[in-house]
């Protein structure tokens, strides 16, 4: 047995004391890991100018509305994207379906399963997107899980998104500590990497996340997966306020924004909302693009009404 390997192994995997293991682990990650790029990255991004998504979010002048569509959910799924825009979206969130959507509730799970069963792939969805890109005037934010990024490689993945005209990216199972090479890769491709804060996120960590998030800050309204709920979780308001106080990009509330009234309430505390399951359910139930446009327009109207009532909007 080679002595050097043995020593490494013992250190990494065999030491019983947490203290010792921790040291080893930290050492290993500082030399070998994506995490090692963190310091560099933060420095780079803190000096960077806002990307296309963030520019759009900041400049909307009204509560932001970001509807979500699962890519490939139907053959003509891009018409739903256009319908969202027509309904008054400030940006659209495009879900790239993944086999194991850990953070999604039943509606988005079903949508993902349906898209995958139809043969949807990242490549096909982005190709479809390209075909309608010139009809889209609002930014497209891709939402997907870390495995699809790792599988393609962070740099290649971001380049491919950029080539399809995507300007933002949300990866819900990459918390700020695990961004690794994706953060610089996104920056290099001009993709705003949107980070999430949750009700369980401590204040200091909220500040850290808001400082590194690009495009907007995704405030997860509730402790739970995506999905429609009867009422908006009260913690969303507190969380959004804390996130806005941190002074990063605009803060949008997502998860469980199920009705225009809930959206209006959320927009009272934040810069806007992401609406996903409520729309995807319509699509799963066979809504036409026109019907989806109307639903989005309903959210738009409710949000705009909050501004008329004088609610703060940055």
């Amino acid at each position: 047995m080679p002595g050097a390997l043995e020593t490494t192994t013992r250190a990494a995997s065999e030491t019983a004391m947490p203290g010792a293991l921790e040291t080893t682990t930290r050492a290993a990650s500082e030399t070998a890991m994506p995490g090692a790029l963190e310091t560099t990255t933060r420095a780079a991004s803190e000096t960077a100018t806002p990307g296309a998504l963030e520019t759009a979010m900041r400049g909307a002048g009204r509560p932001r509305l970001v509807p979500y569509v699962t890519g490939g959910i139907t053959a003509d799924w891009t018409r739903y994207l256009l319908a969202c825009q027509a309904g008054g979206a400030d940006a659209v969130e495009l879900g790239l379906p993944f086999s194991d959507p850990m953070l999604d509730g039943v509606t988005i799970q079903r949508a993902s399963d349906q898209a995958l069963a139809r043969g949807a792939t990242v490549e096909k969805i982005l190709t479809d997107l390209t075909s309608v890109r010139d009809q889209l005037t609002v930014p497209v934010v891709v939402m997907t899980y870390a495995n699809l990024v790792v599988h393609a490689g962070a740099t290649a993945f971001c380049r491919r998104l950029a080539a399809a005209g995507v300007t933002g990216l949300i990866v819900p199972d990459l918390p700020v500590d695990e961004l690794g090479e994706l953060e610089p890769a996104a920056a290099r491709s001009g993709i705003d990497l949107v980070l999430l804060v949750a009700p369980s996120t401590p204040a200091a960590r909220i500040r850290q996340i808001c400082a590194r998030s690009r495009g907007f800050v995704y405030a997860v309204s509730t402790m739970g997966p995506t999905g429609e709920r009867d009422t908006l979780d009260g913690r969303a308001v507190v969380l959004a306020a804390n996130a806005r106080d941190a002074g990063g990009p605009p803060v949008l509330i997502g998860f469980g924004v199920s009705t225009p009234a809930q959206a209006a309430r959320a927009a009272g505390a934040a810069d806007g909302v992401v609406v996903a399951s409520a729309l995807v359910r319509e699509v799963l139930d066979g809504a036409t693009p026109e019907r989806l446009r109307q639903v989005v327009a309903g959210f738009r109207a409710a949000l705009d009404a909050t501004r008329l009532r004088g609610t703060t909007s940055r």
Binding site: L5, E6, T8, T9, R10, A12, S13, E14, A16, M17, P18, G19, L21, E22, T25, A28, S29, A32, M33, S99, D100, P101, M102, L103, D104, G105, V106, Q109, R110, D113, L116, T121, V122, E123, A146, N147, L148, V150, H151, P172, D173, L174, P175, V176, D177, E178, L195, L196, V197, A198, P199, S200, T201, P202, R205, I209, V220, M223, G224, P225
Partner: protein, 380 residues
């Protein structure tokens, strides 16, 4: 928490705090002598540890290789899973949690978790794919008898990997009063490390028992089956600082170490079986406990640095191996464990396991649970 580039904590932001709490509680507990003492007593008086080390005398004579069997099949509930759940339930109890959440595939971890929950007066909620529930009715019933609530998972492939996702989703909503009891050396940090620490007892006992049994003190080879890889991780932990060759045996239809590529599932980075588009593949093994597309990150690391070697055996080799061990030693081992036996049968007398070698094999569990399936196969 990483093993080289593997491991990590790839969870939604809403779970980061929960993982950190578990990590902190474990670090504190693991350096607390009273926690360790309590766990040791539980292992002894409740789980039947130490488990025996059985010299497989007849098989050894036939193979020309000295075979020693670490008998986790004799542990309470019938597999090594009890080592892990006792540790985690004790931790959950210490953290003041009222409920254990667990995912299960074949039901072995679910039964173990339900067992530990009963012992500590905790509730247990076990997430199990709908297809697995149909296939493993007896284990479902055992869990029910132990007082656990079973939640059928109807998403995706309706098997273990979907149960893992669902358990995580539920944990997000319940982290304030529930403890997620992961079943193998997988999941977000600190689980792969913590579960290995709880399973380390296999390797440490075996190390001491080998020293008493073998003139050479340490076996030349240490073999264990690998699904998620907890029995192998626990076994290897006792021998990683020796000259013993460490061999992990995967099912050919679920060989993340051999066929997997870098990926992230269930909160950790490791080797993962996936299609060309990055969608996680379903594993297919006769052994339900190896029917998992990922593998514990420490194994990915041990494989990368070549400290351990990972090999595969096919379903067709496994049943004869199980039968041969039964007929030579009177031990009906689990189909999972029979993978380790099958590799030894194939390798004995070759350069991989030369005549005269001494090989420790961990029998991760007993075979009773597999008899209905084997009966069905036999009568087909």
């Amino acid at each position: 928490g990483r093993f080289g580039e593997f491991g990590g904590r790839y969870v939604p932001e809403s779970l980061v705090a929960a993982c950190a709490e578990v990590e902190e509680a474990f670090r504190e507990a693991w350096s607390d002598a009273s926690f360790r003492h309590r766990l040791e007593r539980l292992r002894a008086v409740h789980a039947g540890r130490p488990t025996a080390l059985t010299p497989a005398v007849n098989l050894s004579a036939e193979l020309g290789v000295t075979v020693l069997l670490k008998r986790e099949d004799l542990a309470h509930t019938g597999s090594h899973k009890i080592n892990n759940v006792l540790g985690q339930a004790l931790l959950a109890h210490r953290m003041g949690r009222r409920r254990l959440l667990a995912e299960t595939g074949a039901g072995q971890h679910g039964v173990a978790a339900a067992t530990a929950a009963a012992l500590f007066g905790l509730d247990a909620t076990v997430f199990m794919g709908e297809r697995d529930i149909e296939r493993q009715q007896l284990n479902v019933f055992r869990m029910t008898m132990l007082g656990a609530e079973i939640v059928p998972v109807r998403s995706g492939s309706r098997t273990l990997k979907d149960a893992c996702n669902e358990a995580m989703r539920h944990w997000v909503t319940a982290a304030h009063d529930s403890y997620y009891c992961v079943g193998s050396v997988m999941g977000p940090h600190p689980y792969p490390w913590m579960v290995r620490e709880f399973q380390r007892v296999i390797g440490e006992e075996a190390r001491a028992q080998c020293a008493a049994e073998l003139p050479t003190s340490v076996p030349t080879h240490v073999v264990a089956c690998v699904g998620g890889g907890s029995n192998a991780a626990g076994t290897f932990a006792g021998f990683v600082d020796t000259d013993a060759r460490l061999i992990g045996v995967e099912a050919a239809g679920g060989a993340a170490m051999t066929d997997g590529t870098a990926g992230i599932v269930h909160g950790y980075r490791s080797r993962v079986l996936q299609d060309e588009h990055g969608q996680v593949a379903e594993a297919h093994s006769i052994a339900a406990g190896l029917d998992y597309p990922g593998v514990g990150p420490e194994h990915a690391y041990l494989g990368d640095i070549r400290r351990a070697r990972y090999v595969t055996v096919t379903d067709d080799e496994v049943v004869p191996a199980l039968r041969r061990l039964a007929r030579t030693e009177g031990i009906l081992c689990a189909l999972e464990s029979a993978h380790a036996i099958a590799w030894v049968l194939r390798a004995a007398g070759t350069a991989d396991l030369p005549t005269g070698s001494t090989v420790l094999i961990t029998l991760s569990g007993r075979g009773d649970k597999d008899m209905p399936a084997l009966m069905a196969t036999a009568t087909r």
